[in-house]
Subunit: 515 residues, 2 copies
């Protein structure tokens, strides 16, 4: 068997069974190897940002890696933005990136580039195979790295001659590393802080701490200590909705976040670090936690949050029941002209149990999040790294990981354009994704940020760089051009009817919400 | 004045007057500075690959740099593929990439990444500003680097606090470096080789040697020596058509290229290096020049090709007239079902003088190139680096550089999807670009390459990864969704009528050619 077959076979033996792919000539042997491995599903993306974003969505929902197939340095470059988001989300993911045959590299053919250097900034681990036999070994190692709790980005660079040379073999999976645990002393410190602390207390949660069962532990700790439960602004995956332990979300804008945190004298962090301002602004602080507050790091993103909160609940002799459970709450929608509030209200009523929401709604969707707190239980995935163009690809991957769940992509118009090709993959794979494009005709967030960084009275040229109305983008046409049926909604009534239709029929839909 | 204003002012003083932009929050001060500089045109792209591809097209046609505006590491990442192509084309280009304020970086906010590392693989030169005053200095240096003959990719990373801090000033342009010249000994060696060589002789041209006036020199040398004029497979800009000195183009596939070069006993290279196979294939050579041939490097891509060929023509006492001049030749088109040949024939008849063709037509367009040899004189721009998604962005930039010339983007369907957002910029800027999408419903080149790398009997999963028909992409809908009027042509007659309409009306058009 050749190196490509051994590599793909090893990944399959480890449990990897989905490949998001955008191959080129140098990856044809990998394509052939995937073709021959019946347990490996291949999903084509027409742009690499779709591929890496889909692998991110898959990894967040499956808690195991998909593998991507990318073409040389430029193909990897096209995928970097969503790799950045995935790395920030600590998603398990394996990338296989083709490169020229080893003996061809020194000729500096047109597509030659320094693939390792392209890979490093957005990967946790990069490995170039050394031979056709070593390629399988690299695959086995990549799986272990990718599955390091909670997940890492492992990138394997595959020279074409290693892929096509015979004489390799499938390897057994290696033992997986256990998630590191917080030491007892840290548990004690956190318990002490929550018991004895002055001022309001906060249990600040992120990463894997935002899963349903871990949130129950947090809710029990809240019941024992009166701590408020707060989560990071951009969680990778937050399990929320009716029947779950609710958490408050830290606001996006630094001033609001600082004011939000101000009352707290004690903050215990679990699964994330103390929050900082997303951007710097003249005369505004980067660090958001109050000066003088007692900040305790119970568990980092890479330490076992369930174990840490279990131990903490035990140390605090927390009651069996969490402090609060979110009740089902349907918000009535204002009739007439459609608004983000009305969208949120209608979703609070309509989304079915275990819906997955991929939220890249930027400004237009701020209201939607708040109003869906009492929707049926669901998973909420956000833009962890701020690199826009994630929303629809993430929905693709989530739908592949969870074929029996409804997926909703809440998509701002400006960022949606970056990876609009994701619609084609939704159509090809008949994914049960409803994309809601929040069409406000602008990079609205940048209009806000322009004044926040101190630009007064911007002129027409500046404003035109934030404007998407000249020409207006017709998302229904783009969507149908890629095979996804589309509807337009300008009123609450139209939006509600469109949602009913989309949720009532399996397969992809797009609703262009005119705001 | 703040650092951003001094930076933009310095670029303007150097002669840079076009900015292709996709800004984010960290670039708002640069947006404001562009706004206040009346001599700087700002052109928004809805994806960074459009931005860098447009700057490439602009630089190839204007022979001076445009500046791009990109958002942090992920925004730059999205632009890397077309930066790779631009670097291979030796296009003059300046990138300004925002970064977090210097004091914000250590907080590792979500969008933080190693911007320098992202920039390096596809830039010739990377510079981080050190202060608000140094930012202007970085701009002046970047211009000099970008204008190093024939052009380089200069990337300046702009921390947000350097942009917003007051106390900087516009700097004078620095003296530009002269293009390096081939030494006399090399001219003599080349003259000797072309006079005395055994076997057929070839003058192999690339880079700036493919401009009209330099080709006249090459044609005179051909007249003096009987050398055949051959050009690289993927020229950055080839001036061709009726009235110009014709050159033969080296075939793409390695076997054909090797056979093409086999007769030559002497090859003199000017503006490019000895060609190598685009990819490696099992049991096929990378090096294409015949063993034992006398290979002489008259001038590299970075040496003055006009000076080198002038000196060579003089040394050879070449006649005043070139060996041949391309005659006007209109090829009759077969009526009925549309084919690449028919498209080439119709273009040979219809394209007006000084049309610019951006060719990313891949397999579907091979015939078009050959059949347009006798069209009215025009410029032909190709995919220099093999990173697909260049065609339409390149056309955007060429149209901005040359507003009074017709631009045609010959666009394969698969690669067109990568940067389809370019259509929106064509509409917004009312660019006189006609995009011809060659819709064959597949990555046809990969179907060929699959067998060339030794994959026999590919199964349905492999073939599906090269197929674009499930679902079919409706380019007319996508185009109109972004504001570019579109027509569909399935026969020669329909295509001819569509071309007449597109060429007869200023502004953007798209013709979906069904093949």
């Amino acid at each position: 068997m050749n190196g490509a077959e051994a590599f793909i076979g090893t990944l399959k033996a480890c449990g990897v069974d989905v490949c998001f792919a955008n191959p080129g000539t140098s990856e044809m042997q990998l394509v052939a190897a995937i073709d021959r491995e019946p347990g490996m599903r291949a999903i084509l993306g027409l742009f690499e940002g779709v591929v890496t974003g889909a692998a991110d969505g898959y990894g967040r929902m499956a808690d195991k890696p998909a593998v991507t197939l990318l073409h040389l340095g430029p193909g990897l470059g096209n995928g970097l933005a969503n790799l950045h988001n995935a790395r920030r989300a600590a998603t398990p993911m394996i990338n296989m990136v083709g490169d020229h045959a080893t003996y061809h590299l020194h000729h500096d053919a047109p597509l030659t580039s320094d693939v390792i250097s392209v890979a490093k900034p957005m990967s946790d681990w990069v490995r170039v195979s050394r031979s056709e036999r070593d390629l399988a070994q690299a695959g086995a190692e990549a799986f272990c790295i990718a599955q390091s709790y909670p997940g890492k980005i492992a990138t394997v660079i595959v020279p074409a001659d290693h892929a096509w040379t015979e004489g390799s073999a499938v390897l057994e999976p290696q033992p997986l590393p256990a998630a590191p645990r917080s030491p007892d002393s840290v548990i004690d410190t956190a318990a002490e802080a929550l018991k004895a602390g002055t001022g309001d207390k906060c249990l600040f949660l992120g990463g894997r701490a935002l899963r349903e069962e871990t949130l129950v532990l947090a809710g029990r700790i809240a019941a024992a200590t009166g701590a408020r439960l707060v989560c990071e602004t951009f969680p990778a995956r937050l399990q929320r909705g009716a029947g779950r332990v609710p958490v408050e979300k830290l606001p996006y804008f630094g001033e609001q976040a600082e004011a939000f945190l101000k009352p707290f004298g004690t903050i215990v962090f679990c699964g994330t670090e103390p929050p900082v301002s997303f951007f710097a602004y003249p005369d505004k602080p980067s660090w958001l936690s109050p000066a003088g507050a007692n900040l305790v790091r119970l568990a980092s993103q890479r330490e076992d949050t369930y174990a840490a909160l279990s131990a903490l609940a035990e140390a605090l002799e927390a009651p069996a029941e969490p402090m609060g459970i979110q009740e089902r709450a349907i918000i009535p929608a204002e009739p007439g002209k459609l608004s983000p509030k009305a969208i949120g209200a209608i979703l609070s009523e309509l989304i079915p149990e275990d819906t997955i929401v991929s939220d890249e709604s930027a400004t237009a969707g701020l209201a939607v999040y708040g109003l869906t707190a009492g929707a049926q239980r669901h998973d909420w995935l956000t833009l962890t790294g701020g690199a826009i163009g994630q929303g629809m690809p993430l929905a693709v991957g989530a739908a592949v990981a969870c074929p029996h769940r409804k997926v909703i992509a809440l998509q701002a118009d400006g960022s949606g354009m970056y990876t609009n090709q994701a619609l084609w993959t939704m159509a090809r794979e008949e994914l049960d994704v409803t994309t809601i494009v929040l069409n406000n005709g602008s990079y609205a967030i940048l209009n806000i940020e322009l004044s926040r960084v101190g630009v007064q009275n911007p002129g027409p040229k500046a404003l035109s760089m934030l404007d998407l109305t000249r020409p207006e983008i017709n998302w229904c046409q783009i969507s149908e051009g890629m095979g996804v049926p589309a509807m337009r909604a300008a009123t609450s009534e139209e939006f509600r009817n469109a949602m009913l239709e989309a949720l009532g029929t399996r397969g992809p839909h797009l609703i262009e919400a005119i705001l």
